[in-house]
């Protein structure tokens, strides 16, 4: 694909399909759907060049509600199917819609390999820390001890932190957002699309039926200013109501400090560098957790790297330039052949 952006003057309404949306009333998925429909006109792609691929789970109904090409596939495999779509036609804008069970349990293998290959796809991972469609079993992101229908005595396993897994799998783009900030979500979705390579966006999403309020400490109005560190590349890591609190590096640890207290000045506060290829600090940001530290929100990592499909194309182009065959018939007749007369 050339560098030119296809211009089109579509609006949010152009991306709304004719299918009735069937998520539970109050589900966090509604605001994500709306944010995606808001973001798409800003990426300048035509509807026919946009594809949504989903796996199985509540979130995976998403493609039916988008007026674009869509494929509701099988459990865990959206990453592999989306990879095939993108490799077949790199001009398409391809979005994988998945959940914490779909992407991190049954589809965990595909996710890590997609990330390390860096195929230019956008993954929207709806993380509600529960299985909704099967009515309330724990997921790979449920906190240890979670009481669910399949863990009446509490879970006995460590949860995954999706960002940690992503960075371990060599992700070049990882963002974390909440379903309660629609404008910010749309902004992040646009950034994910602009990033060339696999972009993983983890959305802290509320399941109103089986895990209501699981992200409240981070996403609710009353807590969000104190408990979210909203990251912006090149900006100091400040948070709190009056933005007096910040994050500094103390030895090998991040710590929360207050400007003006204990001799802390603004230049002690870390400045976010999402573009740093070294993932060490990104990983530390991913791991920040309440109550000691706020939760990092926004684009934690955004590193530019060549994509799998570009390298694949280069190899094919080179082979075609160097090839001594001009057609298949040439090739079939070449080499060790003999003639019977």
């Amino acid at each position: 694909m050339g560098p030119e952006v296809k211009t089109c003057s579509l609006t949010k309404a152009d991306f709304v399909s004719d299918q009735a949306v069937k998520w539970c009333p109050g589900c966090g998925d509604y605001s994500i759907l709306s944010a995606v429909q808001t973001a798409l006109p800003q990426i300048g792609k035509r509807r026919e060049d946009i594809v949504f691929i989903s796996g199985i789970g509540c979130s995976s109904r998403f493609p039916y509600y988008m007026s674009a090409y869509g494929f509701h596939t099988i459990h865990g495999r959206a990453a592999a199917i989306a990879s095939g779509v993108k490799l077949a036609n790199p001009d398409l804008s391809v979005w994988e819609i998945t959940g914490d069970g779909d992407a991190l349990a049954i589809g965990g293998n595909h996710l890590i390999h997609l990330l390390r290959r860096n195929i230019d796809l956008n993954i929207l991972l709806f993380n509600n820390k529960i299985y909704g469609l099967t009515k309330g079993q724990f997921s790979p992101t449920s906190e240890e001890g979670s009481i669910t229908k399949s863990s009446p005595h509490g879970t006995i396993e460590e949860p995954f932190l999706p960002g940690e897994l992503a960075i371990g799998a060599k992700a070049n783009f990882y963002a974390r957002i909440t379903d309660s900030s629609p404008k910010f979500m749309a902004e992040i979705f646009v950034a994910a699309e602009l990033h060339k390579g696999t972009s993983l966006v983890e959305i802290l999403q509320n399941c109103v039926i089986f895990n209501d309020g699981v992200h409240d400490a981070i996403s609710s109005k009353e807590h969000r200013e104190e408990n979210q560190l909203v990251l912006q590349h090149g900006k100091p890591m400040l948070f709190g109501k009056d933005r007096k609190k910040g994050i500094r590096l103390n030895g090998l640890k991040l710590e929360s400090v207050t400007i003006g207290e204990n001799g802390i000045a603004e230049n002690d506060i870390l400045v976010h560098d999402a573009h740093n290829p070294d993932p060490t600090l990104h990983l530390m940001l991913v791991r920040m957790s309440l109550p000691e530290l706020p939760v990092a929100i926004g684009i934690i990592r955004n590193v530019s790297n060549s994509t799998y499909e570009a390298k694949m194309k280069n190899q094919i182009d080179l082979a075609q330039t160097k090839s001594k065959y001009t057609s298949l018939n040439d090739f079939f007749k070449s080499g060790d052949v003999w003639e019977v007369k």
Binding site: S17, Q19, R46, R47, E48, D49, I50, V51, I53, P63, Y64, M66, S67, A68, Y69, G70, F71, H72, T73, I74, R77, A79, A80, I81, A82, S83, G84, V85, K86, L87, A88, N89, D91, L92, N109, H110, H113, M312, Q315, I316, A319, Q320, K322, S323, Y325, S327, L328, N329, F331, F332, K333, G335, D336, V337, W338, E339, V340, K341
Partner: protein
């Protein structure tokens, strides 16, 4: 060639090279096979190698063999019983003696028959001394020491290990002399193979010549064979293995359909060669994606198909099991997809390097729900080209997954292939052209094939959603309506059945009205044909029906069967095709000949079994 030698003209010969898996027998065998092709012989080859890359040296488990059947004409299989065995050690002799013709020639590396090696091969006595070789023409050649001697005089500075690696070429030289061949082709091959190391070229050529000269001079090999060129129909030929033929058939289908070829695959024996062959041909535009597992292999192919590529996944039995759910998705979304299953010995990990036909039921039924797909089976290595092409054609024209069954015997086996050009191949009639004013719906169908249209992302105005949930007829919207579900289940089955209208009628080799019809399918073709052919020559009332279209069966199958008093189904499993025929055509009685040993049928055992049926 000295005059004292007997020069025998023979119609066909089976020769087997056997040695330790590190002895280079596959290379020697395939080179000898290639030479046979160049000399115009009809050939069939079959490598037989252990599952372990390097089993313990000198053990029977570590024996690697390569059999070549070459001759004037009528070579349909790599042959049951070898006329000539080259055994590089006692284990190779022990593993292969039972498949050597009595009075056949056994050439051994006598240097390797020391007490320790004889014990390692689990012989209780020295076979040279205990009379067990009395029925064979035994030729003892000190191959190891003669190879060493031939190379050491050149002072190339090679270590002992590198020198000993040349002994397979000594054996090749020796055999070349026996069959009245010049060494030109072999020398060319060596120069190419070792072009990066001049010393190795010299050493191997020296070993080759030493073997040749020895055969010419020693009295032990006081005869030579000439195998006449094949009387094949005129044209250009080349040797091809089944796996390579599959890869080339897929490439031909891509060119013919003007679709980009996409392969999503994961390494598995014995199918990996197809992926490795395709990836060498990036110049053709093929996209090869080695996925993280079998499931990602097929799923990436499904994605590529959705986006408009000719999409293929290749695998073997256990991999097909893993792909089952995804095949169901392709079937439900009615996307074209080719799944190549190079069958191996099962169940579970089974016998990875051995051949079997035991995945038929899995291919036909191994999915949840009512999930019909088209199933084809290739009959010979060169046949793999045509059926790979046909699998693509049917998949794209009928918008359905197609499973192509080959097997380890076909995949690794080679035979002469009459080179095809793409002009000779059938045209593709893809149902993808849509005019802008058409009132299109995702699941509206072609009235003849019942195929929906292949509308792909990028096409303006046709944005639509598909998925694994049940569809409402025509619109393709999600539907849980009970009557619609049953209607759609029947529609999908009917669509696959309609493929019958587009495939060739079932043929019979021999009189189409007779006592006994021998039925086979897939890779047993050559052996069954060979057996039936011989029986027919002996005046027996038998005919042969080879099935390549398994699901659906050719339309005239019942009519063909009705002309015979008895039907016997021969297959390398416990009777899967016979069971399938009992379901499809219950009006006939079927008897069975089965073998499940990880080895192909032999002509002799088939003849014996068929004779038993004839006389019963």
């Amino acid at each position: 060639m000295s005059d004292s030698k007997r020069n025998l003209e023979v119609e066909k010969v089976v020769i087997k090279f056997a040695g330790d898996s590190g002895d280079g027998m596959q290379l020697t065998g395939s080179q000898f096979g290639d030479e046979s092709g160049w000399l115009g012989n009809d050939i069939a080859t079959f490598p037989d190698y252990p599952a372990e890359i390097r089993a313990p040296v000198g053990t029977v488990a570590g024996v690697s063999g390569f059999q070549i059947h070459f001759g004037k004409s009528g070579i349909h299989s790599p042959g049951d019983i070898a006329d000539v065995l080259i055994a590089m050690n006692p284990a190779a002799l022990k593993a292969n003696l039972k498949s050597i013709r009595k009075q056949g020639i056994v050439i051994t590396d006598s240097d390797s028959f020391d007490q320790k090696s004889i014990e390692k091969a689990e012989y209780t006595s020295n076979p040279f001394e205990d009379g067990s070789l009395d029925d064979y023409e035994l030729i003892k050649v000190p191959i190891s020491s003669l190879t060493k001697k031939a190379i050491s005089s050149l002072e190339l500075g090679l270590d002992n290990k590198s020198v000993m690696r040349c002994k397979n070429l000594f054996a090749l030289g020796l055999v070349n002399c026996m069959f009245n061949r010049s060494l030109a082709q072999a020398e060319k091959f060596i120069s190419e193979k070792f072009k990066k190391d001049a010393a190795l070229v010299k050493a191997n050529i020296a070993a080759l010549n030493a073997g040749f000269n020895l055969a010419e001079t020693i009295e032990a090999i006081a005869f030579a064979f000439t195998v006449l060129p094949a009387s094949n129909e005129p044209g250009l030929y080349r040797n091809i293995t089944g796996n390579k033929a599959v890869a080339w058939g897929l490439m031909a289908a891509a060119e013919k359909s003007k679709r980009k070829l996409f392969l999503g695959s994961y390494p598995i024996t014995p199918a990996t060669d197809i992926m490795q062959e395709l990836v060498r041909h990036k110049w053709s535009g093929v996209k090869v994606f080695q996925a993280e597992d079998e499931i990602a292999g097929i799923c990436s192919a499904i994605g590529a198909s959705f986006a408009g590529n000719l999409a293929v996944t290749t695998t073997s039995g256990p991999g097909l099991a893993l792909k089952g759910e995804a095949i169901g998705l392709a079937m439900m979304t009615e996307l074209p997809l080719v799944i190549v299953n190079v069958q191996r010995g099962g169940p579970s990990t089974g016998l990875p390097t051995k051949t079997e036909q035991s995945d038929l039921m899995q291919a036909l039924y191994g999915r949840n729900g009512e999930s019909p797909v088209v199933v084809l089976a290739a009959g010979s290595p060169s046949d793999c080209f045509d059926y790979a092409f046909m699998a693509c054609k049917i998949a794209m024209e009928h918008m359905t997954p197609v499973i192509l069954l080959t097997d380890g015997y076909l995949g690794n086996g080679a035979e002469a292939w009459k080179v095809k050009t793409t002009d000779e191949l059938p045209e593709m009639n893809l149902s993808d052209v849509i005019s802008a004013d058409e009132t299109w719906k995702p699941y509206q169908r072609n009235v003849e094939t019942l195929a929906r249209k292949w509308v792909i992302p990028g096409m303006k105005g046709f944005e639509h959603r598909i998925g694994g949930l049940e569809k409402q007829d025509v619109s393709g919207n999600v539907s849980h309506d009970p009557a619609n579900h049953e209607h759609m289940v029947k529609l999908r089955a009917e669509k696959v059945k309609r493929v019958q209208e587009f495939i060739p009628m079932q043929k019979v080799k021999g009189k189409d009205k007779n006592d006994l019809l021998v039925v086979g399918w897939g890779g047993t073709y050559g052996t069954i044909y060979g057996a039936v052919n011989e029986l027919q020559k002996e005046g027996k009332n038998v005919a042969f029906a080879q099935f390549n279209y398994i699901h659906p069966l050719p339309k005239n199958t019942a009519e063909v069967f009705s002309k015979f008093k008895r039907i016997v189904v021969c297959e390398l499993n416990l009777g899967q095709f016979a069971s399938y025929l009992r379901i499809q055509l219950p009006e006939f009685k079927y008897s069975q000949i089965n073998k499940v040993q990880g080895q192909p049928f032999t002509i002799n055992e088939l003849k014996e079994d068929i004779n038993n049926i004839l006389s019963s």
